[in-house]
């Protein structure tokens, strides 16, 4: 291309999507169709020069940075499949007579909501697949959020200047939890109705405001006909709106502050080493999105989830066993199961038994998680900016505390299945519950001590080698067998 043809600002119409690297002479002479189309937009919107700068933004490349992306992709799939489900779902708690093809329930009195879920599952071709993809994606969503949070916590990515984005993330986690609980309640099957009953009891247990809280939320004394339409609004409008705004904020702050990175490959506190957004990261992320969707579809299509026809419709005078909530609510259910039979009345105010395990303990756990960045900065007097991530062994106290938190979460989650475990282990459920009550105190303490010792030993080993100048053991060498039969170091160029 001749020099004179270039506009002064250096942006040609149509090169928005072209990698900025390399001299212009590498570009083919003829403009492709894609360039022509993009050029048409650029001559009208003039975005190419701005977009081109943004496209060059460097993102560090590490598999652990993809965990948050998987959560984002799951959210996209949830919005897409959820929108489809709303086209069939009726948020109506009024009773109708079931007359669908599922013979066992024919003639039964069910809510219109339950009947609509049954119709979607049995009479809408591929409707069941969409429902199961939605439910499975919700499980993956929380899985991705949990490991993403663990990555952020254990590598110290929450430190200055990222405390704000960490809090945005905690907010997203809570909104996602709200989505999970409201969504689980919508089909109005026996399990979801029982779950609502427990939520009502936990609300009631709050001193002074409990009865008001429950009445305002449910629109009266449980069970109310109107609760489903309220939950529906929360599930498909209020919370998704907040989540979309929150996710956008989360990503905008990430973009603004640039991603953290691990040491190595020349990474320093004052630079970012990685692949540019376009094409490297866009291609990888797009590929990951489709692979995530593929795996979820496969699992959701082959492994049954939430078969509401087996649970039956919700009636307030029936409960069933075993009844476990979705995995991300298991810790709350477990806390209630381990709760102590104590309801003290202090100055005329009774503290009902679900208050401590259902409100106080979750509140303290989430509060501690949210405040940890500030707590750690205060304890360590470290108020510097950090863009390089810590390997977990470098910070034994943080790592041990996080591990103890994970231990509490695991014990509570397992306790949520104490009845199932009792059957599996052939023990009385009372024994299993007592063991879990004991473990809830013991497991975090032991975990803290063991992880602290392990991390400290590894750290001391590194420091000793650094001090005495002894080299660490050489890293493992990956040998690759070439086409000629010989071996070579994978790191070397062939």
């Amino acid at each position: 291309m001749a020099e004179g043809e270039r506009p002064v600002d250096g942006a040609r119409p149509g090169d928005a999507a072209m990698p900025a690297e390399g001299p212009a002479s590498d570009l083919p002479e003829r403009r492709t169709e894609l360039e022509r189309v993009l050029g048409w937009f650029d001559t009208r919107l003039g975005l190419a020069s701005t977009v081109r700068v943004a496209m060059r933004k460097v993102f560090p490349d590490h598999w652990s940075f993809l965990l948050g992306e998987i959560a984002l992709f799951a959210f996209i799939i949830l919005v897409a499949t959820g929108t489809y489900l709303t086209l069939f779902y009726t948020p109506d708690g009024r009773q109708v007579t079931y007359q669908g093809p599922y013979t066992i329930l024919q003639g039964a009195s069910v809510s219109a909501a339950y009947a609509s879920v049954m119709r979607l599952s049995f009479e809408v071709e591929a409707g069941l697949l969409m429902r199961q993809v939605h439910h499975w994606t919700a499980l993956v969503f929380f899985g991705a959020i949990a490991v993403h949070l663990a990555r952020v916590f254990f590598t110290g990515a929450f430190r200055k200047p990222r405390e704000v984005n960490y809090l945005v993330g905690i907010g997203l986690l809570l909104m996602a939890l709200g989505e999970g609980i409201t969504g689980y309640s919508l089909p109005d099957d026996l399990l979801s109705g029982t779950g609502l009953r427990i939520i009502d009891s936990v609300m009631l247990s709050v001193p002074f405001i409990g009865p008001w809280l429950a009445s305002l939320f449910f629109g009266g004394e449980f069970p109310t006909v109107g609760i489903l339409s309220r939950l529906f609004v929360f599930h498909v409008m209020l919370l998704p709106g907040l989540l979309i705004g929150g996710v956008a904020t989360h990503l905008a702050i990430l973009w603004l502050q640039k991603h953290t990175q691990y040491r190595g490959h020349g990474a320093r506190e004052d630079n970012v080493v990685g692949l540019p957004f376009w094409p490297g990261q866009v291609f990888r992320s797009t590929g990951l999105f489709f692979l995530t969707a593929a795996v979820i579809t496969l699992v959701a299509g082959l492994i049954q989830i939430n078969p509401v026809w087996l649970y039956g419709p919700y009636v307030p005078y029936v409960a069933t066993v075993p009844a476990q909530p979705d995995w991300y609510v298991g810790w709350l259910e477990g806390a209630l199961r381990l709760g102590l039979p104590i309801e003290p009345t202090i100055l005329g105010v009774t503290i009902p038994s679900p208050f401590v395990p259902g409100v106080l303990i979750p509140g303290i756990l989430v509060g501690a998680l949210a405040l940890w960045p500030f707590l750690e900065a205060r304890l360590t007097h470290d108020h510097a900016e950090h863009n390089l991530l810590d390997p977990p062994w470098r910070t034994p106290i943080r790592t041990a505390t996080g591990a103890a938190g994970v231990a509490v979460f695991l014990v509570l989650t397992l306790a949520g299945g104490n009845d199932v475990l009792a059957v599996m282990l052939d023990l009385p459920v009372e024994t299993v519950t007592m063991i879990f009550r004991f473990l809830l105190v013991l497991a975090p303490v032991v975990t803290w001590l063991v992880v602290y010792r392990m991390a400290r030993d590894v750290r001391d080993g590194h420091e000793r080698r650094a001090r005495t100048g002894t080299k660490p053991e050489p890293p493992a060498v990956l040998l690759v067998r070439g086409p000629g039969g010989g071996f070579r170091d994978a790191e070397q160029e062939p």
């Binding site: 460097v58 247990s205 409990g210 009865p211 630079n271 082959l302 307030p316 259910e333």
Partner: protein, 283 residues
Amino acid sequence: MNHPSPDTRRAERRIALSFGVSMVSGFALLGVYLAGGQTQVEAVLLAISLGGIGAGIIVWSQRLLPNDLHVEPRHPAADPASTAVRDIVAEERAITRRSLLIRALGGAFAGLAAALAIPVLSLGPAPGRSLFQTPWRRGLRMVGLDGQPIKASDVPVGGIVTGFPEGVPGSADGQTLLIRVGPGLLRLAADRMAWAPDGYVAYSKLCTHAGCPVGLYRSVEHRLICPCHQSTFDVLDGAQPVFGPASRPLPQLPIRIEADGTIVALGDFTDTVGPGFWNMHDG
């Protein structure tokens, strides 16, 4: 342009194959749907269709795109010496009695918040007495789900039925367990023994922990177990909790057996039914 290497050619073939498989699978899915549909087959085909695109793009990015590392400088979010924040605040410094006005504005917002609480309070009725009461009244007969009176003879020794106040079958807070135990087994307080004639005793079915229906009965041990959180109640001992998170007994319904065998309530339950709340003992 350079001639592509054999590696590049191979990668291109693999990517094209991946996309091709995806395309075939997508059209096959359409065919399956039109032919009547089959959920599992549709899922597998959809997964292949999505996965083919994903795998192709990943190979594309790994094999055909430049993967050399780039370095970009970072800058602190704000210069510590910057006066931007102070400048912004200073823009409205002209006001003289600023703290007074800010306090007044705070007060105005508090008033507005109080005003906006009204629509929130309209979301549900004031709790009132409803939590303390059930539909049970003196003289109401116990009925089954079908609304027909339950007869004492319907319940064998060791048996259990769920009953409701007459006229409200399916009542959520009036649901009651009528249990019949062997003669002489009940160890109720003296004033309650009369409410459990001939080994028939009636308790609220709502768990006093989290309000689940206490639906499991181990008749040999005479224990009621809540399936939700395993609170366990001793039927013989006034449904006192013996295990689990519930701390209060299931309230007892005083009953009498009429000459025709129907069960009649002598009043409402002995205590507030279901989950606790802060002023539950004021009832």
